[in-house]
Symmetry: C2
Subunit: 339 residues, 2 copies
């Protein structure tokens, strides 16, 4: 644990997504083909909308996790990993389509969102279609265990979204509350994506639990770094602008920590900005100043590093292989996005 | 077929839903319990919204079909039928939640829709949650065949909805186009609900195909009668007002047939009403007059009877049992809603 934590702390300059891209390259080519084919339909609007998102330059980290964790457990043939990886990406895409409707977002990864081009209605329904197709692919694999893991994740993700909608727009949200939402909204799919790899490889319960822990911790770490990038840092690869979360009233960890550390004046500012929508450029400038004053980006990065260290440790126990190295490098990549 | 058709034609006064309610009573009590429990969540908003719809007086015809077709094939123990029936109802409820968002509907079964009380966002996400819970229950049953049937239905329903959104708002929609949408949007879930009964009972392919045909034809018949009721007839049990479809610009069979039979003036009226939204009370009065002039409710009822006869025939081949009689009576009930 100490070793792992130290390693994470000292490798900001070397973490790279290239290792996992390279290790999963052969299978990801098949995943991408399958995605295109399963996003097809006699109803033209479906591939039109699906491909808008699918081709919008996401890194496809989640399906790569499925491929890499399958490889790391010796599953190197067949097509179960390809179908499950495509399912995972469809679940993610469906979530994004619905998220953009719920958040009324106009931009994602620097491109107009599907809902601004084709409308909320089509975004909801195409999301439903992709989810249906995801389940069809899982059924096709024929592993009841994998189905159980992924259907659990599906319900947990939606539950987390409703929770966030219902309660998380209040500045009284605690760090624990927020981490519970991140756990459901983001980490649950990372965890499921990483766990189904060993499942189809026929690995035992311990291996499954380790990969689940890996995916979950990686997911939380990933989200916290995203939160930090939204208030600064180098975010070119995210297609996000500084302050997007702020303007959408999304309460994230840097804000929660700044609120908690603030005096009464500052607390009133945060409530007005996040709860009542007083979030113009001047308000963003003040928000950045308060975040700087209380060094909450630094604290958030520390939290992210701690989760990263857990993920690192979970994968470090794997037998040596290129896939294991790729899984370890992904952890470092997530953290090293912060310059 | 002739016998079946004749029987359907002459029994408008006796079709009743009471038989299937009585036959499925024991299991439906368990289905209702399971529904309440699976609609639960630590996030209070979820049961609040789910129960609004679940307790809004729907007949629960779809889950009753699963119970009755399982019973008709000798499955009388265990809980697979209960879990699958609850899954079917959740899939239906999720579809209604999303439908009301997509159609911007304010009323359903005479009650305010969830979206008008809790908003579109919560309706989308709670629908997603119920769909996830539906898949969890299916996985719990452990039948890959049942999972395959229901996940197929899930994708087909969404595909049908997108199709309707994209193309079916034009008056050039043909009867065949419309029936294809009904087949996907409504009949696919009826078909799946009826098919999984024999599947868990371990019945053979022929029995499965017959029940699938039964559910599908019943579903089309059911929808066409709904379409008729929207332009008149006795609709007390539907919570719909005459002209709801008209005001929402939903092009249904009575309208398609009236358009096709109309002269240029009438065609222009329909285009203006359905495509451009000129659908005030005066327009509705004219629509009713044209529907009457071309007797398109009568023609639609004839179509519904023909599908009903197919459903009747498919179930008539079952060995005699109370469940078989219940399935036959449901067909007559659907048609006999027209006085």
């Amino acid at each position: 644990m100490v070793v792992a934590a130290n390693r994470v702390e000292h490798t900001e300059d070397r973490g790279s997504i290239d290792t996992i891209v390279s290790v999963t390259k052969r299978d990801m080519a098949r995943v991408n083909e399958l995605i295109l084919s399963m996003a097809g339909s006699r109803v033209e609007l479906i591939p039109e909308i699906a491909n808008h998102l699918i081709s919008s330059g996401g890194k496809r980290l989640r399906p790569m996790l499925t491929i890499a964790t399958a490889l790391a457990h010796g599953y190197d043939e067949g097509d179960a990993q390809v179908k499950l990886a495509a399912s995972v990406e469809f679940m993610h895409t469906a979530t994004l389509l619905h998220d953009d409707v719920v958040d009324e977002s106009d931009l994602r990864r620097g491109k107009r969102t599907a809902r601004t081009i084709w409308g909320n209605q089509a975004s909801v329904l195409v999301g439903d279609y992709l989810l249906g197709q995801a389940f069809k692919m899982m059924v096709d694999v024929g592993s009841m265990t994998a189905l159980s893991i992924l259907s659990d994740a599906s319900a947990i993700i939606a539950e987390g979204e409703v929770w966030q909608l219902a309660a998380a727009k209040r500045m009284t949200t605690s760090e624990a509350d927020y981490l519970a939402v991140v756990d459901a909204k983001t980490a649950a799919l990372f965890a499921a994506a990483a766990e189904v790899g060993p499942v189809i490889a026929g690995a035992g319960d311990e291996a499954r639990a380790a990969m689940r822990r890996y995916g979950r911790s990686l997911g939380v770490s990933f989200q916290l770094i995203d939160d930090v990038l939204d208030y600064g840092g180098v975010a070119a690869d995210l297609g996000k602008n500084t302050g997007d979360d702020f303007r959408e009233g999304k309460i994230t960890l840097p804000v929660i920590l700044a609120y908690q550390a603030g005096d009464e004046d500052e607390k009133a500012f945060w409530r007005s900005a996040m709860e009542d929508g007083n979030n113009d450029d001047a308000a963003l400038a003040r928000a950045l100043e308060l975040i700087e004053r209380h060094a909450t980006l630094k604290t958030t990065i520390e939290r992210a590093r701690a989760f990263g260290a857990e993920a690192y440790e979970a994968a470090a126990g794997l037998p040596p292989s290129a896939a294991r190295d790729a899984l370890l490098d992904v952890v470092e990549f997530c953290i090293s996005r912060i310059k």
